[in-house]
Symmetry: C2
Subunit: 163 residues, 2 copies
DNA sequence: GGTCGGCACGTTATAAGATATCATGGCGTC
DNA sequence: GACGCCATGATATCTTATAACGTGCCGACC
């Protein structure tokens, strides 16, 4: 994962290069997303922005999110109605996400095999792809380990019926 | 695509086998989804149900949808906030969808390559997958053909500037 | 310098999607 | 006939997202 500061700096550069404006509101939304390092809903972003100088309304947040999505600086996680900062915004892309049901963490993949297989199956059916949504819900490695430990300890303490 | 009638009949059998009840409300929702042959939102389903004997409220629809999802008789399309009947409900599964931005049509895939590549990349990172969401937005073959024809005719009528 | 147009943002209201909570009623068990 | 389970009814509320219209800044152009 990239440090939030770095992400903002990179975004500044990219926007300048592209001749688009990373305004205060837009930067603020991006900062909140990058600092969180996890998916954040639009209204949660709004609440976070209220901490700042002025109160904002939903359209303000959604407009900033729309801009950041267009510029490929963030992604939307459809299955969570939430947004995350992108780790590799240089070339806007669709991406794959692993979403932990336990801790809520999200990992952004960039897997050629998945992309290739999707590309080939769409091509076969004459379908022209524009945007991919690939989200896998499950248990992340860390939570799986934790769970395994918990179970083991429990078993040692009371070696009763095992399920 | 399977005929709506067949789909309902199959659902009846499956539910009986599994010892769960495909009640009137649940069957009605499934019928609406199968008859539509495209993604339908919960509130649209609700409106369709109002045509029938009694008025229903959102929880009724959502409860029916929850049941049908659990039984693998329908799928939810996350990026559309909508639901579709499943073409192969015998073995509940995650599936891949091709969604046309032009006509709104949805095709349910069942592609081993996509599944395998996803499985391998998750396994590598120690992630335990539970549910997959794979939705590709784009232009379906039919709409692409139509669009191509339209362009060609236009070009023949006025062979002006070509883009 | 004035005016015009585009863009970002503010403000209010509302649409669209989803759930919490409690009540009712059928139906099989004991 | 009392009890418990399950599906549904009914009401309210919550969350997510957008529509519509107004204001102010800023650079382009005359
Ligand atoms: Zn990314
Ligand atoms: Zn986790
Ligand atoms: Zn299916
Ligand atoms: Zn189409």
């Amino acid at each position: 994962m990239t440090a939030p500061r770095t992400q903002i700096a990179r975004a500044e550069v990219l926007c300048r290069e592209r001749g688009v404006r990373l305004t205060d509101q837009r930067r603020r939304v991006l900062e909140i997303l990058c600092a969180a390092g996890r998916p954040v809903g639009a209204y949660e972003i709004m609440d976070a922005m209220r901490e700042g100088p002025r109160v904002v309304a939903p359209p303000t947040v959604y407009r900033a999110l729309e801009f950041l999505l267009e510029q490929g600086l963030i992604h939307k996680i459809e299955s969570l109605h939430a947004f995350v900062g992108c780790d590799h915004p240089e070339h806007p892309h669709s991406s794959e996400f692993l979403i932990c049901l336990e801790c809520g963490g999200v990992a952004e993949l960039k897997d050629d095999a998945v992309e290739r297989s999707l590309a080939s199956v769409t091509r076969e059916s004459g379908f022209l792809p524009r945007r991919r949504v690939v989200e896998v819900m499950g248990i992340c490695a860390r939570c799986a380990r934790k769970e395994a430990c918990r179970r083991k300890e429990e078993a040692e303490r009371s070696p009763g019926p095992v399920d």
